[in-house]
């Protein structure tokens, strides 16, 4: 299921990687032969339900965990045999508010983590300055991190990840818990890094992140790669073309007449104070569909029809349903 792009040597090669954990309850197989190749400059989204193996895979790539089987190479270096070489070439950015020295300033945090990767002297100072400016923390860079908002802390994580200009950047849930404005700031910064040629592997529960940023999506399920496709091709796999939300005045019809051509499924009917709404998942949506709906519901006083084309969210939910209840 591996698919890389381009002719140049891949930045990341994951071949048949497995990882098991032993506990008192028995052995848990977190990864079961994962194959994945990421070419230079690619931004690949890694999707999966909780427990799919995303975090385990990121930990193996970043040398924090050893695989129990298979190999992982970063820029040609094996993570198990040459971890130092791998560490020089990648940066792991974890989401959340932890992982920083809160009593210290952003500059202090940046300088420290950059020193660990080998930056020194004037280069260290210059790159730290560039990194704080890049993520928009310049005016607050000397304040203790404990005074920062969630979004500012996340931006600092990103600055720490990029200050050494890694060849591979691993981003784990970079927008988790952020308000929409801060999440957009993070996406803008990640997008700029992608434009500068950084290879990025991104995991996120916010499918908006993946949809806006990734060119390719890898779906992990139960420790295996379920899909590895360019984003447009993954979107084509949607069983429905759109979600149509009907809104009507008054009381909802007891049995909605929804015998519509191309109808995939009917969502829950919701009754509000003086209106009702109903979601329809349709395989195809044309102007005729709208006319047909109006004919079907002549007395129900439809006040609004909203059509949302299926996105990654829809595809992901369908995939999740499929794997939860296989046919």
């Amino acid at each position: 299921m591996a698919s890389g792009t381009g002719q140049s040597a891949p930045v990341l090669q994951v071949a048949g990687v497995s990882r098991s954990f032993r506990s008192r309850q028995g052995t848990v197989q977190a990864l079961k032969g994962v194959d994945l190749t990421v070419g230079p400059g690619e931004l690949v989204g890694l999707l999966g339900l909780n427990g799919a193996g995303k975090s385990t895979l990121l930990k193996i790539i970043s040398t924090l965990l050893l695989p129990t089987g298979g190999t992982v190479r970063v820029c040609g270096h094996d993570v198990a045999r040459r971890p130092r070489e791998v560490q020089r070439r990648l940066s792991l950015v974890l989401g959340g508010e932890r992982g920083l020295y809160l009593r210290l300033s952003a500059r202090d945090n940046l300088r420290f983590f950059a020193t660990l990767t080998g930056l020194k002297g004037p280069d260290l100072a210059r790159r730290c300055e560039q990194a704080v400016e890049f993520v928009g923390l310049g005016p607050a860079a000397d304040r203790p991190v404990e005074t920062y908002s969630k979004g500012m802390r996340q931006r600092l994580h990103l600055a720490i990840g990029m200050v050494t200009r890694p060849e591979l950047l691993l981003l784990d849930e970079p927008t988790v818990g952020l308000d929409p404005a801060e999440a957009e700031n993070i996406r803008t910064a990640v997008s700029a890094m992608r434009d500068q040629g950084t290879t990025i592997l991104l995991t996120s529960h916010y499918l908006n992140d993946i949809e806006q940023l990734a060119e390719r999506v890898v779906v992990l399920h139960d420790g295996r790669v379920l899909h590895d496709l360019p984003l447009p091709r993954l979107l084509e796999r949607a069983k429905t073309a759109a979600v149509v939300t009907l809104t009507g005045r008054g009381t909802a019809p007891p049995q909605p007449p929804v015998a519509l051509d191309g109808l995939a499924s009917v969502g829950t009917l919701q009754q509000h104070a003086s209106s009702w709404s109903l979601e329809l998942h349709v395989r195809a949506w044309t102007p005729e569909s709208l006319r047909h709906l109006a004919d079907l519901w002549p007395d129900q006083q439809l006040t609004d029809v909203r059509v949302a084309p299926s996105g990654l969210q829809q595809v992901f939910m369908e995939l999740a349903d499929d794997v939860k209840s296989p046919a």
Binding site: S62, Q87, R98, G99, L100, T115, G118, E167
Partner: protein, 260 residues
């Protein structure tokens, strides 16, 4: 893309040292390294108004006890503090290495505490009318430095044990006073039962207190304490290295230590 040359261990340790100093909690230093030792000295000297104890031994004993405990606990908690802060994934996925960072941070916090304890105990003793006199300052300083260097690896060993065994923290707390007793700081070694005395030979605390007491009193210590102190330090360092390897093995290979 440029590949940065890996930082040498001493630069990483120095960066960790600087970071620790900048993030120091002055309130905890004030309480743990200034007020607490000063209270020990002042109260013990006041209680000793009939002169049953040698005032110099009281002052020196309080200082050694405080400094040894501070060194041990600062080094011992360094790994746990990183775990609490959630910084271990970022540290361990970078080429600097965890060992130099823990060493740099332990040295920073322990050095500061020992320096503050020294000042605090000296001032308290002087204000109580029993200033500590050191007959052989060179030997005294050398013993202090050697004792510090020998105790730090014990702290790092304890730091690893704290992660490897959940109960280790409670066990260590329970062992504090038995160790003081076996080290000869609370009860003279001569008063201990015969079977307990050899145990003190394995404690850097015992040899450190012998050397400091001798240097303060102007007595020659002989070769044994001067050799035994670094040997205990080397043994602790060896054990710490093994325990550190075990921590990394359990974290990376077994995945049974959830520190990342």
């Amino acid at each position: 893309m440029n590949h940065l040359a890996p930082a040498p261990w001493w630069r990483v340790a120095a960066a960790a040292f600087r970071l620790q100093f900048r993030g120091i909690s002055w309130l905890s230093v004030l309480v743990g390294a200034a007020i607490q030792p000063a209270t020990y000295v002042t109260i013990t000297l006041a209680a000793n108004h009939r002169g049953g104890l040698d005032p110099d031994a009281v002052v020196l004993g309080s200082a050694v006890l405080s400094a040894w405990t501070a060194t041990l606990w600062h080094a011992g908690m360094v790994l746990r503090r990183e775990l609490w802060a959630g910084t271990l994934p970022a540290i361990c996925s970078r080429p600097g290495g965890l060992g130099p960072i823990l060493t740099g941070k332990s040295v920073a916090s322990a050095t500061l505490s020992v320096a503050v304890i020294t000042v605090s105990v000296s001032l308290s003793a002087a204000l109580s009318g029993h200033p500590l006199t050191v007959a052989r300052p060179v030997e005294f300083t050398a013993a202090l430095a050697l004792g510090f260097a020998a105790t730090l690896p014990l702290g790092l060993l304890v730091a690893c044990l704290f992660l490897l065994t959940r109960a280790a923290l409670r066990v260590a707390e329970a062992l504090v006073y038995p160790v003081f007793i076996v080290g000869g700081l609370l009860i003279p070694l001569a008063a201990l039962p015969g079977w307990a005395r050899p145990v003190s030979g394995g404690l850097s605390l015992h040899w450190l207190s012998v050397l400091l007491a001798d240097a303060a009193a102007g007595r020659p210590s002989g070769l044994l304490p001067w050799c035994a102190l670094p040997v205990t330090g080397l043994l602790y360092a060896l054990a710490a290295r093994i325990a550190f390897g075990r921590v990394l093995h359990r974290a990376r290979k077994e995945g049974s230590l959830e520190i990342f």
